[in-house]
């Protein structure tokens, strides 16, 4: 299992190590390539799957993307981060495949937030007609009194993980990239070829749901 790795391989995958990593890849360093594969493969598959009809096609898309990455390596100039560049290649290939499949929904709708999703249940605010309408009826309470041990417990983190897994794919991928993996907003926009606004709304909805779940969880007795 991957979990038994003693050394976190991620350090080399952060943008500040891009030059080093690209150099290793160009030199034919197999370990560097497999680190990259292990780091991004699952994420690439999930994203590819959003564009194409079957898991099998998504797997082909990912494979094709890696070939594209290797072939393009000499031309990689570092104007974007390596990970942004890899995902942009993936998304372009996925779109081409998706088009060939004659899918009915446009790709732009994949990343556009749909409908209305209030960050907080409307019932938490005072209703129209009240002197303080639109202000808290049931205000959130500070978490300052919650011990750090509890906040950082495996159980709390498992809750967060569970909520993220259950999000719609577009919200899930955006919050993973931004808040779990630490990508910048610009990296995410460029990697997925989405607008700043869509990215922010998806992030907002995802974060709001995680906060809500944490509020429920932390209000239970420890």
């Amino acid at each position: 299992m991957l979990c038994t790795l003693a050394v976190e391989p991620s350090s080399r995958a952060a943008p500040e190590h891009d030059a080093e990593l690209v150099q290793a890849l160009r030199a034919g360093d197999e370990t560097a390539f497999m680190e990259l594969v292990e780091r991004y493969q699952a994420q690439m598959l999930r994203i590819a799957r959003m564009y194409v009809a079957t898991q099998a096609v998504a797997e082909e898309v990912v494979q094709e993307a890696w070939v594209g990455v290797l072939k393009g390596l000499d031309a990689f100039e570092g104007r974007s981060s390596l990970r942004t560049w890899i995902f942009r290649i993936l998304v372009n290939i996925a779109k081409t495949r998706g088009v060939r499949e004659k899918r009915s929904t446009p790709f732009s709708s994949l990343w556009s937030p749909e409908g209305d999703e209030p960050a907080v249940e409307p019932g938490r605010f005072l209703p129209e007609g009240d002197r303080w309408a639109h202000h808290w009826a049931d205000a959130p309470t500070s978490w300052e009194g919650v011990p750090e041990d509890r906040l950082l417990s495996a159980e709390t983190l498992a809750r967060i993980h569970g909520v993220i897994e259950a999000l719609p794919p577009n919200q899930r991928e955006v919050i993973r990239m931004r808040d779990v993996l630490g990508w910048s907003s610009r990296e995410v926009r460029n990697a997925l070829d989405i607008s700043e606004t869509n990215q922010r709304v998806l992030l907002h909805r995802a974060r709001s749901k995680v906060r809500r779940a944490l509020e429920d969880y932390l209000s239970e007795a420890p």
């Binding site: 299992m1 991957l2 979990c3 991620s10 034919g28 197999e30 390539f33 497999m34 594969v37 292990e38 493969q41 699952a42 994420q43 598959l45 797997e59 990912v62 494979q63 890696w66 070939v67 290797l70 072939k71 209030p118 960050a119 907080v120 409307p122 605010f125 309408a133 639109h134 202000h135 808290w136 205000a139 959130p140 309470t141 500070s142 978490w143 300052e144 906040l151 950082l152 709390t156 983190l157 967060i160 993980h161 993220i164 919050i175 993973r176 808040d179 779990v180 993996l181 630490g182 907003s185 700043e196 922010r200 992030l203 907002h204 974060r207 709001s208 995680v210 906060r211 944490l214 509020e215």
Partner: protein, 86 residues
């Protein structure tokens, strides 16, 4: 535009929190939001909760279960390498 003339409501603030944290608000909107925060304990707690939420989400490892196909990709890599070095 009319929103600029009046004080911010709590149910408006909770929808602007991400724009605020992303520094995507216009100066006038940011000022309205901060003015509201200064007088509202509930929203101050809400913003703190959101910051804590982001911090805790950042504690997840992001590590994933490895997927199939590593050997195949290793072959792809070796083929590329032999092609590129010849």
């Amino acid at each position: 535009m009319s929103a600029h003339d009046r004080d911010m409501d709590c149910d408006e603030l909770v929808e602007l929190v991400t724009d605020y944290l992303e520094e995507a608000l216009e100066a006038s909107e940011r000022a309205r939001l901060e003015e509201h925060l200064a007088g509202c304990d509930g929203c101050t707690a809400y913003l703190d909760q959101m910051r804590t939420t982001i911090r805790l989400t950042g504690m997840l490892t992001g590590r994933e279960v490895p997927v199939e196909g590593r050997e195949e990709l290793l072959r792809v890599f070796r083929a590329w390498r032999s092609g590129s070095t010849s």
